[in-house]
Symmetry: C2
Subunit: 332 residues, 2 copies
């Protein structure tokens, strides 16, 4: 930078102002242009580290995930966080803990050492987590998870809304006998989707029948066995809302072994919109998408705007529900 300044015939200070046009100071248009021309010509690049040190604040934000490779979901959140970061001129420092506390501690320290402005902590499936420790002093926001009592701001999928929307696709098609293959896991998705299912039935004036709700492991295998059980019911349901796309995949297999066709003999809707399954099952599966991109995006937006309010007091942390859009394909 010294060289740029000299070549442009100005002082170091002026060069600095001219280059990153900090509104604070007035540099004549002419000077600025001259300096910028020289900088361009010399291929000058500011040293981000020196800037950060000097400004006594970095332009880093941290993003911690518990698992990055299990599903493409983490990828969507990464994109969301990254897009929001770039919009604000921040650089994302990402780390994956694989749920190892020691690793978590290490990456938290690393981030603190790099003076991150805040961190978004996320999990690959929606769940409750204990308050992340070791991130003292900087704002933290949770994406796809939340803490007991919502002591920290968080953004999570609106499971109930999604469950309701899924079921309403079925009621809208005139189905009255709608089964729900739920998961046997204790998770917000399990309770939320069930709540949504019941709300939708209620809205359609259909009495809730607990015999139509099965629980199983939320995998293809579970969907298969639950599907078989479902077919024993008399009268048979005409539609099924599945906890997730993998369960629907298993249900497809079960229906197939009985020679039943979808959606004629049985309509089915899934949840998660796992592209590789949902879009490529035969017939393609109607489902509800999880808003991972938005979760990441909104979390970081919040962090940057409300995370460390410069004025006024900090807003009350809340658990913000993010809508799960439906994706209609050919199974309904």
């Amino acid at each position: 930078m010294q060289e740029v300044a000299t070549r442009a015939g100005v002082s170091l200070a002026t060069a600095s102002f001219a280059i990153n046009g900090t509104g604070a100071r007035k540099v004549s248009e002419e000077t600025r242009h001259r300096v910028q021309a020289v900088a361009e010509e010399l291929g000058y690049r500011p040293n981000a580290m020196a800037q950060n040190l000097s400004r006594a604040r970095s332009s880093f934000i941290g993003f911690i995930t518990d698992s990055v490779a299990t599903t493409p979901f983490a990828g969507e959140m990464i994109r969301g966080v990254q897009d929001a970061a770039r919009e604000h001129g921040y650089v994302m420092l990402m780390a994956n803990t694989e749920s190892d506390p020691r690793t978590f501690h290490d990456v938290a320290s690393m981030m603190l050492d790099h003076q991150v402005h805040g961190v978004v902590y996320s999990t690959w499936y929606h769940r409750q987590v204990s308050t992340p420790t070791g991130l003292s002093g900087i704002p933290v926001v949770l994406a796809n998870c939340y803490t007991r009592g919502d002591r920290l701001q968080s953004f999570v999928p609106d499971e109930a809304g999604g469950g309701r929307a899924a079921t309403e696709i079925l009621t809208a098609h005139g189905h009255r006998r709608i089964a729900f293959i739920n998961s046997d896991l204790s998770a917000p998705a399990t309770t939320g989707r069930l709540r949504g299912y019941r709300k939708a039935l209620q809205a359609a004036g259909i009495p809730f029948d607990k015999n139509l709700v099965l629980t199983t492991t939320p995998e293809q295998e579970g969907g298969y066995t639950a599907g078989l059980r479902l077919l024993q019911l008399d009268p048979r349901p005409t539609a099924v809302f599945c906890y997730n796309d993998r369960v629907a995949m298993g249900l497809y297999d079960a229906l197939r072994t009985r020679g039943l066709s979808i959606p004629q003999d049985m309509a089915v809707v899934g949840f998660d919109n796992q592209e590789v399954i949902a879009a490529h099952l035969r017939p393609a599966l109607t489902t509800v998408a999880l808003p991972h991109y938005e979760l990441g995006y909104l979390s970081l937006k919040w962090l940057l705007r409300e995370g460390a309010p410069t004025t006024g007091e900090a807003p009350e942390p809340t658990r913000t529900l993010v809508p799960c859009p439906t994706v209609e394909r050919s199974s309904t």
Copy 2:
């Protein structure tokens, strides 16, 4: 740090050496312990930015992907790169370009500004890329892609080896009439897997029959239609090697419509080991895994060791083939 030094009754310099035990200088065991105790007590954390600035080199490495959310594959590479980075005390700066040249340029600048030691550039599927521009001056290594003439060091999956291994699973089971549903894309995977298939046949003394090689779009849909075509052949093949797991998924559907069972009537092996499909198809699919984790890990290892040799000349860049391990399940 000044405070730590004062409280421990030593100079700033001694404190610095004591804390990050730079072998360069000798600090008595006793002093070091005293300083470290004080640092601990005060909860002192070094400012990474100041360190980087002072050392005139950062501890950053860059990782650029063209797409991070299409499949879980990117996640595996991220893990690989990150693990290697952490082993060497580096921090990963990640960026996703979504294949947008402008974004690429931006993230490249960002990385340069942060003085990254080098960058690994990766693509989500194995392919040739044009030499990334705008990364002048720093070492670059490619993961899952390569340039014309291999001007840059790269690490890519051994497609031919994988294709051969896949086919040999079939020949080992005694199959002699083995079809190959290949992709209609022009990609290293297409040619490589075919080459491997032919090698395996040859090794087993089976003459190559071009009627047994079909090409189709490498999706479920393509596998389905190709599967139907395959069933018209007389005599019918007894085994099929599919370009990827999605094609195998389609083939499963085709076999099912004809009431054929796997592996009794037809053995099938896929490629990619897309967990969500391969492990959950009925029966579970035997396949070949793509070594994404290793691609990321090895790339960064190379970058750190050979990328910028401190002594001797730079090694000749080569395209290193990384093995694709087979995963045997129940379809063979």
